[in-house]
């Protein structure tokens, strides 16, 4: 009975050390799914130490040692697989062997065997796809119960003289099985809790990840090019702390930030087979640096060894990739892997959206072009006809008309830029109106009342022209005489009102062909784009 209490006491000391271990950076490898060989070595060292410690904490009983040596190898086996289990067991076993006593050989063999048992359980769980169950304390408990039973059997079979061995086993079996089981279960539950804490940390990380995502989307707004790629890469790099971040299109590196940026240069073609694979098959490629390595083909000194390559795609077309790298000295964290994949998915969505926006604006532009083209023939031929007549009597006026006509068309053609000022719009319209005034003679008079303070306000190009043309085509030209077009621009309750008025009376909607309606709609749409939904074109009859 005393033996049980003593063993449990030793186990408590053991567990305190185990607890401290889980708080140390050495615990880090246990939080990720894949294990670097380096980390396995580390775990080997740690669990071997626990195993040896278990021996030293043991209590001498009848020329043997009642101990908790088995916990190290069994847990190492469950977590790290048979190789790690056997290695740890062997170390603990050999150490025990040199301490001597009539059970030295038996204990050496049994400790190794126990490591193997733990390893087989861990392997079985992994194969069954229940990797997470490896950290279940109950499984550790059951495994070590079996392992200890096997140990007792080995002692009885191997230790000589056998009667002594039987007596020994009778004394130590119960306390050791109990102490080891409790110790292993508690140790495993400490590990599990610690892992859960890391998961909780992961949740906090996700919250911040949203913040990152939002910023990245903001940058991507105008689309993927070298500038936006560089901004995004910098942001992702500084935020995740990964070794390096790269963004590519289908052919070349758009941006590269972090370790190895001296030889991974933006503008150079993609050479990494991982990236080529990601682009070709539209799939995420992950070289974890353990089973699959990233080999830099540019420089043998490149420190990068693991990489995640996630394709960016619009619908099913891959248009580039985002790549995260870690150097040889660091493990590629799961959390960064999910982050990389999530970001790529988000960016792909955004790219679809911005392509849609782009097409929409192209549509508006082509509609505009169409409307511009539709304006011209009627006006042009009537203007030319007027000039043909005027030239007979008044060469100077004919010359003026031609100059205005040329000015009007030049402005029509030239105004590719989207935004202009009221002043320029009026200038454009004046040439048009000069010609129309000559054409209609007494039937058209134009009055302008423009607040000079407004001359520099911004307007989409081609805003006034369609409205004025509309006033002439459907207003003035339907009047037998005394047509008047008034153009005014005034400040108004915090807003600006530009009005174009004709005195032809109610507008006859039936009289308007489709192209005019389209022209008005485009003007309305473009003003709303510039000034927001509250602005726009309003038509009203003053009568």
């Amino acid at each position: 009975m005393n033996l049980i209490l003593d063993l449990l006491q030793q186990m408590s000391v053991f567990l305190v050390i185990a607890y401290i271990f889980t708080k140390s950076p050495a615990f880090r490898p246990l939080t990720s799914e894949t294990m670097h060989p380096r980390h396995k070595v580390l775990l080997y060292g740690i669990f071997s130490t626990f195993s040896i410690m278990g021996t030293y904490f043991g209590l001498p009983v009848q020329d043997a040692i009642a101990n908790t040596r088995a916990i190290g190898p069994v847990l190492a086996g469950i977590i790290g697989g048979p190789v790690l289990g056997i290695a740890t067991g062997l170390t603990g076993g050999i150490h025990r062997y040199f301490l001597g006593g009539f059970t030295a050989t038996a204990c050496g063999i049994s400790t190794t065997t126990e490591g193997l048992i733990g390893g087989l359980v861990g392997l079985a769980l992994l194969r069954a796809g229940k990797a997470e169950q490896r950290f279940n304390p109950w499984i550790a408990l059951v495994t070590i119960l079996c392992a200890e039973a096997v140990q007792m059997l080995i002692i009885v079979l191997v230790a000589k003289p056998t009667p002594d061995a039987i007596v020994l086993v009778q004394t130590i079996a119960a306390p050791m099985v109990l102490a080891n089981a409790a110790g292993a279960a508690l140790f495993m539950s400490i590990i599990r809790d610690q892992r859960r804490m890391y998961d909780h940390f992961g949740a906090l990380f996700s919250a911040k990840a949203f913040e990152l995502a939002e910023k990245v989307l903001e940058i991507l707004g105008p689309g993927l090019d070298r500038t936006t790629a560089a901004q995004m890469a910098h942001l992702i790099h500084s935020w995740t702390g990964v070794g390096a971040v790269a963004i590519t299109d289908r052919e070349q590196i758009l941006a590269f930030v972090g370790l190895g940026e001296d030889h991974h240069l933006p503008g150079t073609p993609i050479v990494s087979p991982l990236t080529q694979r990601a682009i070709e098959f539209n799939q995420t490629v992950f070289a974890n640096g353990v089973h699959e390595h990233f080999h830099c083909s540019l420089s043998s000194k490149c420190p990068l060894s693991s990489a995640l390559v996630v394709p960016l795609h619009i619908d099913n077309d891959v248009i580039g990739t985002i790549k995260l790298y870690e150097p040889r000295s660091k493990l590629f964290l799961n959390i960064n892997r999910s982050l990389g994949e999530g970001l790529a998915a988000l960016l792909s969505e955004q790219l679809v959206h911005s392509r849609y926006q782009e097409q929409k604006s192209l549509l508006t532009q082509s509609e505009l072009k169409l409307a511009q083209a539709q304006v011209n023939p009627h006006f042009l031929f009537n203007a030319l006809n007027t000039i043909v007549a005027v030239v007979r009597n008044d060469a100077d006026q004919a010359r003026d008309l031609l100059l205005h006509l040329s000015r009007f068309f030049r402005k029509n053609l030239k105004r590719a830029s989207d935004i202009t000022t009221l002043e320029e719009e009026l200038d454009h319209v004046r040439s048009y109106l000069y010609i129309e005034e000559v054409r209609f003679g007494d039937r058209l008079k134009v009055e302008m009342a423009i607040d000079p303070a407004l001359l520099l306000i911004k307007l989409p190009t081609f805003t006034l022209q369609p409205l004025i043309e509309n006033a002439i085509k459907h207003g003035i030209s339907q009047l037998l005489e005394h047509g008047l077009v008034t153009i005014s621009a005034q400040q108004h309750d915090g807003g600006i009102e530009i009005s174009i008025e004709d005195n032809a009376g109610a507008c006859d909607q039936n009289n308007e062909d489709e192209s005019d309606g389209l022209g008005m709609k485009i003007v309305d749409k473009r003003i709303k784009n510039l000034y927001g939904i509250a602005a726009g074109v309003r038509m009203e009859d003053s009568i």
Binding site: F381, N382, L384, N385, R392, V438, L480
Partner: protein, 236 residues
């Protein structure tokens, strides 16, 4: 010499065509008209042989003007337009020709040849016209279009053709014959058309004549000759 009338709402366009037509030496030009209202009057009074007609004109366009002309006195028509090729396509077969502004002398020459050939044949052109929806009327210093539906009756006397509505009398340059053919109004007397939708009652009189009373109380005579048709029309 061909008696021609230019109808165009733009002064410069009128002048230019005038110069071209005069230069050809083939035309005797009537004073040009700036709108359809003036034109219909001149056409009815002076009977030009050919119209050089602009399509886009205020209130009543070139096509609409044609439907206001008496079929028996229908002149040859040459449309002159800046850019209405699509509208013209529909009309091409029915009109003699069309010219595009600015008019080229060579092109005009072809038109003149066509025109002379047509006039020598001596047939009156016929255009299929839609019904008139509105009747152009002349008031003092202004022009008014009256919906046919609002008209109660129309009558002609020596002073001209009068369009009568509930609001009063208006004077039109359209002939009674054109109005009878191109509107749904019913000829009830040698000098009268009546809108049967405005009819209140028919008072039969001795001698086989009758009087129609309209909504506004106006009385319209029905001649013996037209009473029978009126009864048929009304299904009596």
């Amino acid at each position: 010499m061909i008696r021609a009338l230019i109808i165009d709402d733009e002064q410069h366009a009128r002048e230019e065509l005038q110069v071209l037509l005069e230069a050809s030496g083939e035309f005797e030009l009537l004073p040009p008209c700036a709108n359809a209202f003036d034109a219909i009057k001149v056409i009815n009074q002076q009977q030009p042989q050919v119209l050089f007609l602009d399509i886009e004109m205020p209130v009543v366009n070139g096509f609409q003007l044609l439907s206001m002309i008496d079929e028996e006195r229908m002149p040859q028509v040459v449309f002159v337009t800046a850019y209405d090729e699509f509208a013209l396509k529909a009309f091409e077969e029915k009109t003699l020709d069309y010219l595009l502004k600015p008019v080229e002398t060579e092109r005009l020459q072809q038109t003149i040849i066509k025109l002379q050939a047509s006039l020598q044949q001596g047939t009156t052109p016929y255009y299929e016209m839609p019904l008139l929806q509105r009747i152009p009327c002349r008031c003092v210093r202004r022009i008014k279009l009256i919906d046919v539906d609002e008209v109660e009756s129309i009558f002609s006397d020596t002073s001209g053709v009068h369009v009568h509505t509930a609001e009063g009398d208006n004077f039109t340059d359209l002939t009674l014959k054109v109005l009878e053919r191109r509107t749904s109004l019913f000829r009830c007397h040698k000098q009268y058309l009546v809108n049967l939708d405005q009819l209140d009652e028919i008072l039969l009189q001795e001698g086989g004549t009758a009087k129609i009373r309209c909504h506004s109380g106006q009385s319209v005579p029905v001649s013996r000759r037209h009473l029978r048709q009126l009864k048929e029309q009304l299904g009596l």
